[in-house]
Subunit: 471 residues, 2 copies
């Protein structure tokens, strides 16, 4: 997952409100007064749900999401926007969709293509130590010989601002505590800008994670354009704390940072697959995940599993001859990690009127709990009623959220209601944007449950007698 | 921690019996019939225990183990046997002991000095992938250009033996499941020998851990001398499983392994500190941990914390003017990771008769539970009575074990009773022998509790009216 990058206020807003879920309170449900015909229409899908769940967790599709994810990550490795791997993976997924008789195609768009190149960071004084690091997406490079400079260590933007002039000519190390992803990721996305404002020459940020095994986490960062662009990278939690200890003891720290990054532009594609609606084919319900990932990982968790799950949901429905009233569209986004580039391109080239509901899974595919929802109250009542069909999966919980998914935030910010997978993702940020994001995080049986939920909810919403209400 | 390397039957025995603890059953305690004078002597130490605990967890020594560990790991980094860092760290600890008025000195011995050099492993076909790896201690190098060979993947020695001739000329990848450290570490210690017996050219073993963040774990391995010595290294759990998936799909795997390791011999020292006994100064009770660690880690958990804790236990007793009847000796072992070399040298150059009890902490210094004990029944009764004084620390549990500690196994195998710290170390092997073994694993307050326990138990045993019974 990645937060929105532009416009800037949206990024900041999403950082503050994200994960600020609130359970749908009982009194809200009581106030639902769902139209009887809608309630009956939802409940009439119980048999369909049972068919989908049974086919997916015990039947012919058992293990199919995991197995296809396994083939995807082993075949293509990192599917980084701009890479041949991603292009090949897109072709492969389109082909897979067609083999399942789904209308499948790519939609091109322009995206940033940031090439990491060789990179390193070392403590030079008072002792020599390699600092495992990862440059942050869109960072400028250092000069060829790197930057050697004295380092200062701060724990927040406020602390940096307080010592302002001290940062001039220095490498600023941010040793911020992890509070939550949205509250802490700002140190990744804008430490370079903040430090450059004080004349710093580079920044190294403590990786954004609540747990570390000396693992650096990459991610995107953005320059506002107001200050000189300076190189920025993440180091491990352990090393940020070690530098902080030394700095507090009064040791003079000299650090050498070297980055050979390049920023180019590329053409890539979103991957679309349609299960055509039989009554309102022009109306769309979307299920999605992003196919792209960072260059240092195979992105099984972020977000290959959801991309494969979205394809598979359509494939399973099609195989079961379940065709809804509206068209159910799976979108496998690209350019997500660079700032939801694929979603912006989609939003700019498609009519919003046709889109009745959007779903994305991009916060893990661990044990399912239910859905997070953003939209009008009546929609919450509809979803709550739908989720009551998923007791077998233990996935009946609806929470309201101002931040459902990453790519689809572009669409929900335009008033389209949406939902994301709500799951037991306490360990999500342990692996996020690291080379440890591998297939091993995923569980075949749990992926089956998520797939069954994804397919069923998508189908029901696309098949209802009413559109999901918009604002 | 490291298991015993020579003689070979001892290694195998220790692998099978290690961790095979059994709680001291109530009926055993009932059968104790401790001599009343011994029981009274133990109980008379309650005030002393309270003084030590209070001074260590609330008083002037609060945080002292953590702070000194922090200085040690930051100042010297990896304290690898044979390295200048370890020599400097030994000098530093001897000096620290002397500053606390403890008789402190080093005892030299010869040890293997294995130099890692540059090393790498990559999958070459069917796709190119770097495989994070760590050569295993004492492994021979590859030729300069490395070894490029087809790989086969097995999950056990039995599976390898069953396909015997297939291994000829191949790199054998061991993808053994983690069962427990003692049951699984044999794949690290002797996969090269096993595979060489079938004509393999190198082995790569799945790291010995129940949890991985794509982290390779190093460790020692041994050649029996019966077969050609072939290079051997560990890869990550994730990559071992990935290679296994590919192999099972019928993909032909070509791997390139390159290692520039060298085996030399070095002189190093055990570090000894004595708190002289006032009545039987020639009789010894030992508390210990090993100061050395692997070259890829600062070894805060394995085993810097215990080395510092053993020094600090003596320093605290001395500062509190607590001098026991027998001499209490802290030993900070070296050469542990190469096969308990320092402990063997000690055993060969000291009179066993003088040694009445040995303690080592080398399985983590997490929240304390009590002690693991190896020795006669009466000793168990004495220890159980002593541990009853530690309710405040929640560390009253005694378990019997055939494997208490690593270095002191050399001494307990010669009939000297011994104990090791029993603690909540479920995550110990997550970090074991990796670059993620850093200060961050340790908790200042928990280290205080362990230090108080360590100092108190050591003091009481050294101050009892009877020697701990030997077999």
């Amino acid at each position: 997952m990645q937060q929105q990058a532009f416009p800037r206020y949206v990024l900041l807003l999403s950082l503050f409100v994200a994960f600020a879920n609130c359970d749908l309170r009982n009194n809200e449900i009581d106030r639902c007064h769902l139209d009887d015909s809608v309630r009956r229409a939802i409940r009439s899908h119980k048999d369909v749900v049972d068919r989908i769940v049974s086919a997916t967790i015990d039947g012919p599709f058992k293990g199919s999401t995991y197995n296809n994810l396994s083939l995807l990550v082993d075949k293509f490795g990192s599917r980084y926007t701009g890479s041949q791997n991603l292009n090949d993976a897109i072709d492969y997924m389109i082909d897979l969709g067609r083999k399942q008789n789904l209308e499948s195609y790519g939609e091109e768009f322009l995206a940033p293509y940031w090439i990491r190149g060789n990179e390193s960071a070392s403590l030079i004084k008072p002792v020599r130590l390699d600092l495992p690091m990862l440059g942050l997406g869109s960072s400028v490079s250092t000069p060829t010989e790197g930057i050697v400079a004295e380092a200062i260590v701060v724990s927040s933007f406020e602390e940096l601002d307080a010592i302002g002039p001290l940062a001039k000519g220095k490498i600023v190390v941010f040793n911020q505590d992890f509070v939550s992803y949205p509250a802490t990721a700002k140190y990744r996305s804008s430490s370079a800008d903040h430090a450059s404002a004080h004349g710093a020459v580079a920044t190294l940020i403590r990786s954004i994670t609540p747990f570390s095994m000396r693992t650096p986490h990459t991610g995107s960062q953005f320059y506002s354009g107001k200050y000189k662009k300076i190189p920025t990278a993440s180091i491990t939690v352990e090393d940020a704390k070690m530098l902080d200890r030394r700095y507090k003891r009064g040791e003079k720290l000299i650090i050498h940072v070297k980055m050979e990054s390049k920023s180019l532009t590329t053409t890539t594609r979103n991957t679309l697959m349609n299960l055509k609606g039989h009554t309102y084919p022009e109306k769309l319900v979307m299920i999605s995940g992003h196919l792209d990932c960072w260059d240092v990982t195979v992105g099984a968790m972020d977000d290959g599993a959801a991309a494969v799950m979205s394809w598979n949901a359509l494939a399973i429905l099609n195989a079961l001859n379940l065709r809804p009233k509206r068209t159910l569209r799976a979108v496998l986004w690209s350019g997500e990690e660079q700032g939801l580039i694929g979603a912006r391109a989609y939003a700019n080239s498609h009519r919003e009127d046709d889109l009745t509901f959007v779903m994305e899974s991009d916060e893990g595919t661990f044990e399912p709990i239910g859905l997070e929802y953003k939209g009008p109250d009546t929609g919450a009542c509809i979803l709550q009623e739908i989720l009551s069909l998923f007791e077998e999966l233990n996935a009946t919980k609806l929470v309201r959220s101002n931040d459902v998914g990453s790519d689809i935030a572009v669409l929900t910010s335009r008033g389209i209601p949406g939902a994301s997978l709500y799951n037991k993702n306490e360990r999500y940020f342990w692996y996020h944007h690291t080379n440890a994001d591998t297939l091993d995080i995923e569980d075949p049986d749990v992926l089956d449950k998520n797939t069954a939920l994804w397919a069923s909810v998508g189908y029901i919403i696309a098949n209802l007698n009413v559109d999901m209400p918009k604002k």
